[in-house]
Amino acid sequence: MNYGKPNTHRGPDKRGKDSDPLGANSEIGRKLRQYYDDLITEDIPDRFSDLLNQLEQKSSAKTAGNKD
């Protein structure tokens, strides 16, 4: 499924400091990202896109209703 804009949240690339205690040289840091990436790459249940469709429909119906 295409979720529009690509995500740029994979990993803390923007903080490339050497002193980073959770950086590439840290085993905890690597495990943490492995754990998180595992979660992030899971398939997203349809309920969320369904929910957003419903919310969108509800608010556009409300806007239309306000016109009379």
Binding site: K31, Y35, L39, I40
Partner: protein
């Protein structure tokens, strides 16, 4: 009407990271999905308070986190006993177990107090800066720093990791093996 065109798609695009954060907080996949759902509904209702161009992900993480803690307070009132201990024991998701290594890591992570767990996740995995994490958690930057540091020390103790800079061949091959399996 949305606050700007494409708001819906932008919300949907953050769902994977919202879910990951929710699982990390609640330690339970089903509860995490309910949290994400609540957060999306709340975000939609209060979208007028979102300033386009600012960090949408941070805004959503804040909403989800507030929802988590308000649910926790409610539950604590409902069940005035060792709810935390029970949740901890029920939190294993057999279908989602990765390598033993990762399973151990998840268990260790679940032993951390909430404030330390969320801090280390936001900084070490979600890609937020210390400033952003402080805003999400509504606390000082120094507080986030000390929580991350305590979390890291505690994880090292639980996992018995000594010498944090041992970036040897084993660690590299483990990473490659893992990325092959999760690809």
């Amino acid at each position: 009407m949305s606050v700007y065109p494409g708001f819906r798609d932008d919300l949907l695009a953050t769902v994977p990271s919202l879910r990951a954060f929710a699982v990390s907080l609640s330690k339970n996949a089903d509860r995490a999905d309910d949290l994400v759902q609540e957060a999306l509904v709340k975000a939609w209702d209060k979208q007028a308070s979102y300033q386009p161009g600012t960090n949408l992900k941070a805004w959503l993480f804040t909403i989800l986190r507030n929802e988590f803690y308000s649910q926790m307070r409610k539950r604590k009132r409902e069940v005035e006993d060792s709810d935390g201990a029970i949740t901890g024991r029920l939190s294993v998701h057999p279908a989602q177990e990765g390598s033993v290594d990762l399973k151990d890591f998840r268990r260790a992570l679940e032993q951390l107090p909430e404030d330390q767990r969320e801090a280390i996740i936001l900084i070490g995995a979600s890609g937020f800066s210390y400033e952003e994490a402080a805003e999400i958690c509504d606390c000082a930057v120094g507080t986030i720093k000390s929580r991350v540091s305590r979390a890291r020390t505690r994880l090292q103790e639980i996992l018995k990791i000594t010498g944090e800079n041992d970036f040897g061949p084993d660690a590299i091959s483990a990473q490659i093996t893992n990325s092959v399996f999760t690809a």
